[in-house]
Symmetry: C2
Subunit: 311 residues, 2 copies
């Protein structure tokens, strides 16, 4: 039989995954998990797709600020927009969370949900990763795509649970991960229902509904799913509470952290990183017996073969 995890080297990590799935799904196993309870949650940035040199959604925000700059001449003098337009990430960072929220309000709100979805789809169709020249939806980890398919083939329902924007992800997760929009949980803003010239629309408001990161992840999981998943996959301290919540449940549980230690084929970063910082969760992984993936040692390849498309 073909190995459903052929992009994984035959290491203890792969063995731990296969052992968990076997114990959870084999009839008669003392750890058997009924199909309806087989829920697995995956962080997105740094777990399913690349988050270096900067989160993909941040690249999208920069593109939107540039596209809207003509209509906002004041942005040339106004932070954090001036730093974005100058291409100065330190200036953007200096504006802190207040600055980030202003950028989100300017680029992610004021339009209808359908208009926003089209902006995302159109941008992803042309944007390219600065290092590899690939589309961002091709900067996904092949071993994780295999893992998603493997879990689904064994009766698991797979969810994305990301700090990223829920509406930034939903337009492309089905084609890219096989995960439909209703199984994508992320940060989200409030919406307003209104009828414009006889046509009902949902308008994106500059008001936060949930920041689905750190302690927000168990909150998002409970609000959207309403039961505790049995397996959680992450890569950073933003996933720590999610792994803690999931693996503290009764019965068989599985927690896994992707450790980016492959400077040659991807990136190597953890405790000091400005994106995807992995510090407390790396220590906790030892105490709580979470499986830690070494990208360098455990993954036979990183990305799927490049897809050639007509430009």
């Amino acid at each position: 039989m073909d190995d459903p995890l052929s992009s994984w080297n035959d290491t203890a990590t792969k063995a731990a995954i296969v052992s968990f799935v076997d114990r959870a799904t084999r009839q008669g196993s003392p750890d058997f998990v009924p199909p309806a309870e087989r829920i697995a949650v995956f962080d997105n940035d740094g777990t399913l797709w690349c988050e270096q040199p900067i989160y993909v959604q941040a690249v999208f925000i920069e593109a939107r600020v540039r596209a809207l700059a003509d209509r906002h001449p004041e942005w040339k003098e106004q932070e954090p927009f001036a730093s974005v337009l100058r291409g100065d990430p330190k200036g953007v960072a200096a504006a802190g969370q207040k600055g980030a929220l202003e950028l989100l309000a300017a680029t992610h709100t004021g339009m209808t949900t359908e208009e926003f979805s089209k902006l995302v789809v159109d941008w992803l169709a042309t944007a390219r990763h600065p290092k590899t020249g690939r589309r961002y939806t091709e900067m996904v980890y092949r071993p994780m795509l295999e893992l998603l398919a493997y879990l689904r083939a064994r009766g698991f329902k797979t969810y994305v649970v990301s700090g990223g924007g829920i509406e930034f992800m939903r337009p492309w997760t089905l084609a890219t991960y096989g995960i439909p929009p209703e199984q994508v949980i992320g940060s989200y803003g409030k919406l307003k229902y209104e009828v414009r010239d006889g046509t009902p629309v949902l308008v994106k408001l500059p008001a936060i509904g949930l920041i689905d990161d750190h302690a927000g992840k168990p909150v998002g999981i409970e609000t959207f799913i309403g039961r505790r998943p049995v397996a959680a996959f992450g890569n950073s301290d933003g996933d720590r509470e999610m792994l803690e919540w999931v693996t503290a449940g009764r019965g068989l549980r599985f927690g896994l952290i992707v450790h980016h230690d492959d400077a040659e084929r991807e990136w190597a970063y953890d405790r000091e990183s400005h994106v995807g910082r992995l510090d407390k969760a790396l220590d906790e992984a030892k105490v709580k017996h979470w499986t830690v993936v070494s990208m360098k040692a455990d993954w036979r390849m990183i990305y799927p073969p490049a897809v050639e498309r007509t430009p």
Copy 2:
């Protein structure tokens, strides 16, 4: 073949349902809906289960107030609690939305999600409907149970979208409707993640996340599902915006309203009712070609046969 809708009389209403499902699911149909887009949303109170003489969750709230009254001697003098303890619905109504939120805060918050779920399950195991003596989970409409199963057999994913509390419904919807917790959308409060003596918990806070009624229903649908359903089923003005949003989408759409016009077997109420008021949506149904169910004419029976259980 057995009729999957055997509790429905052979009227134009049943024909409209069957015609919609056939057009949506038959290969080669010009109105074919791909399986992934077959999402159907159902209101709960008055659409799937009985909402007379008062919403079931209101009965639960009263039971909780009585159970907690010993710990709150001040409630004897304090509205809206005093009216609840006196069994005076007019006094409760006079306290308005502010009073309702105080009752929700006192009975639905301050405990963990698991503690609350247990309160609901324990209460439903013993509470009985004042008119029929049945359990509330047996006060469900058999024709609607058949409709749910019929849609699922044809590839639809069925959701509850209710103004009722999301955590009040999730403990029992799978056993009662075949709808798992992750397909239940309702009103919800904010949650707080914390670790108590080494055990992570989610605590229910007295702060509203979403009131999933009227314009809140399309908002809840977009937030949780992320795409527009193709069919919506309701019974009151609280469902009007949901039906409007769903049936305004492109391609084949289906909207249905359950009209309670059966005083003999259930209740007869619409434009002047204190629960499940159906006024604007009944007028709009004509203009927008929503199917209106006459419980009296269209339903062969109302409830499933009573289930005898040891007390």
